[in-house]
Subunit: 467 residues, 2 copies
């Protein structure tokens, strides 16, 4: 195996050494690191327990990996389309790995070049979108991967009901060969449905919430189908986990957590993630769920009302230099920007022609797009630092399964440390219950009559405020 290439964290532009006024002093950083070390102890103490099961799944048994690879191979042989029905972490992780590690135009490649089924992740219930999907897939050549830990996710289960109905009408008995479920082995209704219907199933280990599930079969099965090196993904995660074993200033996730915590304490309520690579754009979306849902909490562990949370924003370099960087440079001092740099892209594109008589264009001649995108990143870092805006950078030597595994683990560990620093539960999501129950009531689900009455009694909207 090749020597592992570590991803690196460059936080120069968060420090008072590089960023006048807004940067954090050595004292602030070292004091916060002391708190962070306690957070590390707390997180490690619960490793593998409760909802921290995700910390241990990165070393699955060999037979789990083997069965995923075998299933993936069979799927590639039998099917031309692979559709994930899932939402939240069940969609964002598979999408992030797909975009990072497959051809950017995978579905448009001819079959021989694609070497894997066309891939879709249906993470919404928009009827127009569902109808569009059915227009482009051949259901007889499609494998559906229904992902829901509980089996009671309304969105995913609606999609399942629609699809199984079509499959049974078109294929009768053979319908069951077109569905694989990924769900809890021990609880919930999807495993029961799978047993009754005879669907193949993969299991989400206990203690793994949706946003921490990419390195479980939730993410590994779709990745394996797409020929992603899932052993490399896991090895990368293990590699990062080892780097984060100790609570010191060389633990990148811990240092990043300390800096994030300092940012929040200093009024930075926005966290921008800005990869300079199209392949990592959806990795940004995955981060946004992890960060937003884990840290956005009304109460702390003592039950006190705190209403904490930093709003994550996904941006793309260089694209958003022409959309958001004006705001980042000149707007309020309310955010911290995390760039992601790729040192070596997997392709090189040369700008060989020039235009002698157009100096504003001619200087590009002889450069590569690789040089251009990197110059723009470094220039943007420089400009934001000059305007006093907190920014830092995660450097990937290259985008591959190993570095992606590192990055996933880096962010999950940082999030766990942040939960401890903020003294909140980073692993629950009580704030979505009210909306879920209201939706059940609006749809007339038995048992929600009382909620329906509450909704009916809520203050009615006034016509004067609708224009």
């Amino acid at each position: 195996m090749a020597k592992a290439q570590p991803i690196r964290l460059d936080y120069n532009n968060m420090t008072a050494d590089l960023l006048d006024n807004q940067g954090f002093s050595k004292e602030q950083i070292s004091n916060t690191l002391k708190q962070a070390k306690q957070a590390h102890t707390q997180v490690e103490a619960k490793r593998g327990q409760g909802m921290q099961g995700w910390m241990n799944i990165i070393s699955p048994k060999d037979e789990v990996v083997a069965s995923l690879l075998a299933a993936a191979k069979e799927i590639r042989q039998k099917f031309d389309y692979f559709v994930v029905l899932g939402i939240g972490g069940s969609a964002l992780g598979p999408l992030a790995a797909f975009q990072a590690l497959c051809h950017f135009r995978h579905n448009e490649l001819p079959k021989a070049k694609r070497r894997a089924p066309k891939f879709y992740v249906e993470e919404n219930i928009d009827p127009e979108r569902m109808a569009s999907l059915l227009d482009v897939i051949d259901i007889k050549k499609t494998m559906f991967n229904v992902i829901s830990k509980s089996g009671s996710t309304s969105e995913t289960m609606s999609q399942y009901l629609i699809i199984i109905d079509i499959l049974k009408r078109e294929l009768g008995e053979k319908a069951k060969e077109h569905i694989i479920v990924t769900t809890s082995k021990t609880s919930g209704s999807l495993i029961k449905i799978a047993e009754k219907e005879g669907f193949k199933a993969f299991y989400i280990p206990d203690g793994v919430g949706g946003r921490f599930s990419q390195l479980s079969p939730v993410g590994l099965l779709p990745a394996a189908v797409l020929r992603v090196d899932i052993k490399g993904l896991l090895a990368g995660a293990i590699y990062m986990d080892k780097r984060c074993k100790n609570a010191n200033e060389r633990n990148p996730a811990l240092v990043n957590a300390a800096l994030s915590y300092l940012s929040i304490k200093n009024g930075k309520n926005i966290s921008v993630i800005m990869p300079y690579a199209d392949s990592l754009r959806l990795m940004g979306d995955w981060y946004c769920q992890l960060w937003g849902e884990s840290l956005g909490k009304a109460r702390n562990n003592k039950g006190e009302v705190v209403n904490v949370g930093q709003t994550p924003v996904g941006a793309l370099g260089v694209t958003d230099q022409h959309s958001q960087v004006q705001l980042y440079a000149e707007g309020p001092y309310d955010k911290v920007i995390t760039f992601i740099e790729v040192e070596n892209y997997r392709k090189e594109v040369v700008i060989s022609a020039g235009l002698q008589d157009v100096p504003s264009v001619n200087f590009l001649c002889g450069h590569t797009l690789n040089e251009l995108i990197k110059a723009e990143l470094h220039a943007t870092e420089y400009a934001l630092t000059k305007s006093g805006k907190l920014n830092r950078k995660i450097i990937l030597p290259m985008v591959n399964a190993h570095t992606l595994g590192q990055l996933l683990m880096f962010f999950m560990l940082e999030t766990a440390y942040m939960g401890a620093l903020l003294n909140i539960d980073a692993f629950n999501q009580p704030g979505v219950e009210e909306g879920k129950n209201a939706a059940y009531a609006l749809l007339g689900r038995p048992g929600y009559q009382e909620k329906a009455r509450a909704l009916a009694q809520a203050a009615a909207k006034k016509e004067q405020y609708i224009i």
Copy 2:
């Protein structure tokens, strides 16, 4: 022509009547509306002047529309691929209209169903992405639309240089038939290049910045190629413009600006746009540029340092209920959420099967996805209102060219009013110059030696902060 269907603004959940504590009082709203009326006067006074040229382009001459439609028809006849080379507004507008008004899986439809070329908007310079594009298009059957007002946008011009080089190698003299430029008629280098090379050109009228250019040929040509009803788009914009002629409480863009201004003044530094329709997701990205780049400014019109701006965030309903709504519900009171509701989707999908023995799933049976997505929107509105979070809703009777035209004009007018309310220039972007110049310096562009020296003299990064 069918009777126009007006889009509506529902701001009940921004008012103290519906939202205890956090909602705005009648007095606050009416006082702010008074200020907004002055803003309206200022904006109207400059209609069509300076960088407010965009206010007048929605009524182009008949021959302009005719020539766009003729060019589009010819392109459809001759080409199988249509690639926009553009960034910022030159990409976001075309993408928004494409996603809203074309089939959701357009590029994957068979040619007979697609009835228009495959469509790509290359709004980044990632070398991996450029290489991927070249893998899936047949350059001999591709029309490239190079969009840059000045012709000195490094990203777009790099792409142009790469493409023209390939075209000339493959097609010699005929290369020029594969490029249409959309640019300024009166200035900049792209028009000169077009004249020299013999490219067909469409013109961006004066006073139309990138983020206000969707209703110019920037957006209209790609839309026309894709068989979007561009007359409907323009008619929708005109319809909204008329609704906004008067400065009163029935002017939806003005009322929305007043509410946005109140939000900012009350510390809401985040503006979330959350359509409940996949077709409007990229409309959200278009809004994010418009809002971020227009209002994120360091100085006001008096030259005083203000560092204003509200950070726009794109979200998608229901998808982000499983990612961001936990934070919106329980996190800080730092944002205003703007939902977009679609009353009538263009498709209906019925959930006909049920599961008698699984109550948590069976209640979905007999409903449509249309009902489900709407129930979830209404439930989320209810839950966020209950947790005291400012939210409002824009209602589209349906997504079509006319309502999209209304929506574009609504947001552009709101942004203009906001500029006046904040007493800033909403139409410039001085904050990106520093980064642009630094990138030129890093790439060795002649004339930027001094900037290169400044970069070299900037404080060096310290190894200790890279882990």
